[in-house]
Amino acid sequence: MQTIAQYLPEHPFFAGLDDATIDLLAGCAVNIHVRADEFLFHEGTPADHFYLLRHGRIAIEVRTPGPPMVLDTVEDGDVVGWSWVVPPYLWTFDGRAVNDVSAVAFDAACLRIKCLANPLLGYDLMMRFVRLMNQRLQSARVRLIDMYGGTQTHG
């Protein structure tokens, strides 16, 4: 398996970053493994990480009085987590491994400090996360139409 520093430059999310930045990010990252049905993060807890999934699937869930609802799934190759960007830096949903997951975990607390110190780095990273959030928002909004369901109408 590649090292993180070898893996990151090939990943579309990090495309275009120079070597120094890649090293900086790799320096803030570790490989992690999560077993099926274990949680990667919980709603309301400090969001000090974001993750790049190498293998497996994460369900973004919301707890309800009944069974939890899965709002989104994140697949291998996707990035999950932007609560680290938005004060008060708390996860808004649960993240549960649907199957065995291996991921790269980035120390977001550390990165927040580095972004403050280096605005250019901060801007670049933020733009990548804005793109990610945009995709997720569009997907969520279009599903709100509930176009497959529809309402009872006269025939």
């Binding site: 176009m147 529809g150 109408t153 025939g155």
Partner: protein, 405 residues
């Protein structure tokens, strides 16, 4: 996708062994023509005065015709007026075209019966030969204007030329006899010249007639120049004594047409009109029209080429007998474009845009000609005085005069 209607498929001249030169009829001859048609079993439908308008109805004598009546037509305005002569056809487009004769407002398609779970369907058949059921015909139309002749040909194309011919329509058209007239007094909303559909019936594939009359009231005998357009027409004419038309009468008939052509109430520039409509989808002009349009569907009802229909399924109290009726519909109706989930054309704006774009634009892609024949009825009978020619000009960017309301 678009089948070109080349209009040359059947050449009328070929249906007549030798061309028959025009003849002249006087008023007695006109009555004789009506008699000859009635004797052959036709129900003769012609213009009559009724309820303050010229409407088509069965006629039997000259007295049934609007002798001495003319009309004054403008946007949202229709009045009959007394002429100072005896013209039988001295008015422009009547309230309704020939459309309802061949294309009834309500047509029974089939009757179904359910017995013990089985259901059988009985087509409302015309035996394939004639549509002479319940006093429905055959019809002889007297006094059809050139614009309406073109409209009939357009309906022929629409209702028989695509996937499947409408059998009832086809039967009624096959057995109908058409006597057209050349307009002597076009109206304030007429623009057949712009659409290439008049004022004189030309015959040929796009304006078929059996006989065509031009009324002459020039101080001499009140008479009609009669042109023959088909073998059937020649046949009926042979029942009546009619002398060959003198050269002067032919010249006078030409003069009537030329004069009428110069007195159109409206014009419509059709150059590139389809493309203009296709690219004007977002024009603010549509909001302007929408602020006036009531979506009342008058225009589609009086338009001689509109063809939209819907179906009504009705059953009797026992639920064992059901009928399917085809009835006129209009794209202005709020339910017209309804599908599960919502109505596609919800706003009046979108519906007016659909109607006008279809009539003057997409019709050409569908059927090879414009859908408009310039009869002006949609202008006359619109309660909001919306003028399709003015709307087209406005889309082109031609400034429009202030409206009266």
């Amino acid at each position: 996708m678009t089948e070109e209607f080349d209009g040359t498929r059947s050449v009328d001249a070929e249906s007549i062994p030798q061309p028959i030169p025009p003849r002249t009829l006087d008023t007695t001859g006109l009555q004789a023509l009506i008699d000859a048609l009635a004797w052959r079993g036709y129900t003769v439908i012609g213009p009559t005065v009724s309820g303050g308008a010229i409407v088509n109805a069965p006629i039997r004598t000259l007295d049934d015709l609007p002798r001495g009546w003319g009309d004054a037509q403008e946007a949202a305005h229709y009045r009959l007026r007394r002429r100072d002569d005896d013209a039988f056809f001295g008015f422009a487009a009547g309230a309704q075209s020939a459309k309802p004769v061949f294309f009834p407002t309500d047509e029974l398609l089939w009757r179904g019966r359910r017995t013990r779970g089985e259901f059988t369907v009985e087509p409302e058949s015309d035996d394939g030969s004639t549509a002479a059921t319940a006093g429905q015909g055959p019809y002889a139309l007297l006094g059809v204007r050139s614009c309406d002749l073109h409209a009939i040909a357009i309906h022929d194309r629409v209702l028989t030329g695509r996937v499947q011919a409408d059998a009832h329509y086809t039967a009624r058209r096959e057995e109908a006899f058409v006597v057209s007239v050349s307009c002597t007094d076009p109206g304030g909303t007429c623009f057949c010249v712009s659409m290439g559909t008049g004022p004189r019936p030309e015959g040929g594939a796009r304006a078929r007639f059996d006989l065509s009359l031009t009324e002459l009231l020039d101080g001499g005998v009140h008479r009609f120049v009669v042109e023959v357009g088909s073998e059937r027409g020649a046949d009926v004419l042979s029942d009546i004594s009619a002398l060959p038309a003198p050269i002067d009468d032919l010249a006078a008939a030409d003069g009537v047409a030329t004069s009428a052509a110069g007195r159109m109430g409206r014009t419509l520039d059709t150059d590139g009109l389809k493309e203009l409509l296709y690219t004007s989808v977002e024009s603010p002009r549509w909001d302007d029209v929408a602020s006036r349009c009531l979506a009342c569907t008058n225009c589609t009802m009086v338009c001689p080429t509109c063809f939209c229909t819907t179906v009504h399924d009705v059953s009797d109290l026992t639920g064992e007998v059901a009928e399917r009726h085809r009835v006129w519909d209009s794209c202005f109706d709020s339910d017209f474009s309804y599908i599960h989930g919502g109505t596609v054309r919800d706003s009046t704006k979108s519906r007016y845009r659909q109607w006008m774009t279809h009539k003057l634009g997409s019709w050409i892609d569908q059927f090879g000609t414009s859908g408009c024949v310039g009869c002006g009825r949609c202008i006359t009978w619109c309660p909001a005085a919306i003028d399709i020619t003015a709307e087209a000009a406005a889309l082109r960017g031609v400034p429009q005069p202030a409206r009266p309301f």
